[in-house]
């Protein structure tokens, strides 16, 4: 992805993580065995990426490499703009300060209060005054529902509360990258919901990228991407977020290339996914039209007065004419095989073309080419 990538939700900027050709081995000599094979992974700002896979698949090793907790052996990893293969020990330590780590175990200091544990992170940069640290520390603990536990020692907290303190510690410095390993394992239902909401807010509002190993379905449902690893290889990398996926899809279509990244994202976020079974009618000739359809999978046939006039496939769209002219539908479109479409409503459509004269012209051009 480059800087003009339109699919960084509301944000532009270089990827937070860019890994290429990463191999990693444990042991030496005869006992040496490879745990990571040619890993390539890019994570953009604001993405919540979940890594899954059986234990021993290399997820955690990858996480520690990205987190500058281990030295790279082969390949290249850029984290927050730093090429970590080129950094010395002190450089690695500095990179870690910009990353929020959430470990499976909370690892809080028993001797310190919840606030002081968080402050251990806040004091690291050495840039905040005591008053600023207090404001931030208290604010993040309050946001995690620990407002009345600020001066408690870990011993006086429940398991879930402790884990939330650890999460507060990881997020206190508003890191642009959060690395987490099963962060919700110790949390109860309510805490989990609270924490997940916070992760989501961080990605959407602050553009924080989160790379997380978890098998918690409540998180996977909200993830933008799901990276599945088996035996040290990335076997699938699926975009789960519809808006993100639609955005990726729209990028490849000529008509949408005129849109600025923000406009494209705006359109993508307003599109809904809709499925049709073979033979099912999508629009019918003569009816009034209020929606624009974009085919992402499958094939449709276009019939006018019972004569098939065209077939459309992935990347094609239809239904724009009725929206542009206000006339009834001039053709019937039905699914040939199972079809997945992205649907844009009339109001959003007009908003989109209103916002971009370019886009309107593109749509008209496509229309006239087709007729």
């Amino acid at each position: 992805m480059d800087a003009s990538d339109p699919c960084l939700p509301l944000l532009t900027g270089p990827p937070v993580i860019r890994a290429e050709g990463v191999n990693f081995y444990y042991g030496e000599g005869e006992a040496r065995f490879q745990v990571l094979f040619d890993i390539g992974l890019e994570v953009a700002p604001g993405q919540l990426v979940v890594m899954t896979g059986p234990s021993g698949s290399g997820k955690t090793t990858l996480l520690t490499l990205v987190g500058a907790l281990r030295s790279l052996q082969e390949g290249r990893i850029e984290v927050l703009g730093h090429d970590i293969s080129k950094l010395d020990r002190a450089g690695l330590v500095r990179v870690r300060r910009d990353i929020g780590f959430i470990f499976q175990l909370h690892n809080l200091f028993e001797a310190l209060s919840a606030y002081e544990n968080v402050k251990m992170a806040l004091q690291l940069g050495g840039k905040l005054s005591a008053a600023e640290m207090r404001e931030r520390g208290v604010a993040i603990l309050e946001r995690l529902g620990l407002g009345d536990r600020i001066s408690h020692k870990p011993r006086a907290l429940s398991g879930g509360q402790r884990q939330r303190v650890a999460i507060a510690r990881a997020l206190a410095n508003r890191p642009r990258l959060v690395l987490a390993d099963e962060p919700t394992a110790a949390l109860d239902q309510d805490s989990t919901r609270n924490v997940i909401r916070m992760f989501k807010e961080l990605t959407v509002e602050d553009g924080t990228a989160i790379l997380m190993v978890t098998h918690d379905h409540r998180i996977i449902e909200l993830a933008d991407r799901l990276v599945h690893m088996v035996d040290g290889r990335v076997v699938s990398d699926v975009v789960l977020n519809d808006a993100l996926r639609i955005c990726e899809f729209l990028k490849g279509i000529d008509a949408f290339k005129a849109l600025t990244p923000t406009e494209l994202t705006h359109v993508a976020e307003r599109m809904a996914k809709r499925h049709y079974m073979p033979g099912e009618v999508v629009i019918r000739e003569g009816e009034s039209g209020h929606e624009l359809f974009l085919i992402s999978e499958g094939e449709v046939k276009v019939e006018r007065s019972d004569h098939e006039v065209a077939r459309l496939g992935p990347g094609d769209f239809f239904g724009e004419l009725a929206l542009l002219s206000g006339d009834p539908r001039n053709a019937t479109v039905s699914a040939v095989n199972p079809v997945e479409t992205y649907v844009l409503g009339e109001a959003d459509f007009h908003a989109a073309i209103g916002a971009s004269a370019n886009f309107r012209d593109q749509l008209r051009r496509v229309y006239f080419l087709r007729h």
């Binding site: 002190a90 175990l105 200091f109 310190l112 251990m120 690291l124």
Partner: protein, 394 residues
């Protein structure tokens, strides 16, 4: 959370992690203070013993009232009986600056004192002098020395070892089978060589040793004690004396005499090394205890320290925390041990009749050792923290 509770949060720049760790568990803290404090007490008692030993050994020397001291050249310590002929003192009288010479007779080997409260007789240290020139600084002795003019009268040390019965209040006992009158007492205390000291006139001394008090002039002398005229310089007079006196005797100033005895105690007797061994044992015990405390604490919190490394703390910070914690625990253990030692000194001092006192140098030395043992053990334990791999905790 109200603004009030917010304002009650500690307003320091940095979290005092070392201090918090130290106080985290009251039980562990008490154990650490007790353990390290025990070692501190051990060291302080040894240091106190050493000083008490020397103070006791040097007590009598310090009480001698003179500027220069003539003694036999072969004498190897204050308390070795090695007298020289009184005539050897004669040339000294003519030396400029010498106000007067008084002989001091002494014996450590020939006087058996009978416990007035029992039947046993014990060897005692005896000093004899002219009652008109009591050669000791002890005010009590000076005040009572007139009484020594009475035949076979003695003045005794009421702080002598108790089995001698010198503090029993008895007015009479026997020395070498002969009745003596106890006409007074003073307080000095025993040392590690003699259990008690008896003062008598030179005439009584001669009576004991030769059967005739009139033989004083023929008695060999243990020390010739010289008083200088006002304005006379001790070193100059010492030089002149050396030239005038036979080679069989030597001349020491008072500081030289004190140093002579201290050197003997420190080098020729094994007392000094023994106490230093004791101090070293205390140091090692303290180091082991301190190492144990620090090591356990680090082991318990290894994951936490690894987490700090993961967050971006360098080894320097972690090393600092561990050393701070060691230094804090040294101070925390030292203070109560020092206070307890005051009590121990008093109790043991009374029981052993030793002059045990807390001095600045004992305090400084023992604190230095305490800090040292805690920091050394911390530096041994710290390798664990330096070695910890933050990647292991994911």
């Amino acid at each position: 959370m109200t603004p009030d509770t917010r304002s009650r949060l500690p307003n320091t720049r940095f979290v005092p992690l070392a201090w918090r760790n130290l106080l985290a568990s009251k039980r562990r803290f008490a154990r650490s203070v007790a353990g390290i404090g025990f070692a501190v007490l051990l060291m302080l008692v040894q240091l106190g013993f050493e000083r008490g030993f020397f103070d006791a050994s040097l007590g009598m020397v310090r009480e001698l009232d003179g500027d220069l001291f003539i003694m036999r050249a072969t004498k190897y310590r204050f308390g070795s009986e090695d007298p020289f002929p009184a005539r050897d003192l004669e040339p000294a009288r003519k030396i400029a600056g010498v106000a007067g010479i008084v002989p001091l007779y002494a014996s450590w080997e020939r006087f058996f004192w009978k416990d007035p409260t029992g039947n046993n007789a014990y060897l005692v240290q005896v000093f004899a002098f002219d009652p008109d020139h009591p050669v000791f600084l002890l005010p009590e002795l000076q005040a009572q020395s007139e009484r020594l003019k009475q035949a076979d009268a003695v003045i005794v040390d009421r702080r002598a070892r108790r089995f001698l019965g010198m503090a029993s209040g008895a007015r009479e006992t026997e020395i070498n089978g002969r009745i003596v009158q106890i006409v007074g007492d003073y307080a000095l205390g025993p040392d590690f060589m003699s259990n008690g000291t008896v003062m008598m006139s030179e005439r009584s001394f001669a009576g004991f040793l030769s059967g005739n008090p009139a033989n004083v002039a023929r008695l060999p002398v243990e020390f010739g004690i010289i008083k200088l005229r006002p304005g006379a310089e001790a070193p100059a007079v010492q030089q002149a004396l050396r030239a005038a006196l036979p080679d069989e005797v030597r001349v020491l100033t008072k500081p030289e005499l004190v140093a002579f005895e201290r050197d003997f105690q420190a080098d020729l007797s094994s007392a000094g090394p023994i106490f230093w061994m004791g101090t070293i044992v205390g140091f090692v015990v303290g180091m082991l205890i301190s190492y144990q405390v620090i090591y356990t604490d680090l082991s318990d919190q290894l994951a936490q320290y690894a987490t700090l490394k993961g967050m971006g703390y360098g080894n320097g910070y972690l090393v600092g925390v561990v050393f701070q914690q060691a230094a804090f625990s040294a101070v925390a253990a030292f203070v109560p041990a020092w206070l307890l030692c005051l009590v121990v000194y008093r109790v043991i001092g009374e029981l052993a009749l030793l002059p045990l006192h807390m001095t600045l140098s004992q305090t400084v030395i023992s604190f230095g050792l305490t800090l040292g043992m805690c920091l050394v053990s911390a530096s041994l334990a710290i390798r664990r923290v330096i070695a910890v791999d933050p990647a292991e905790i994911f």
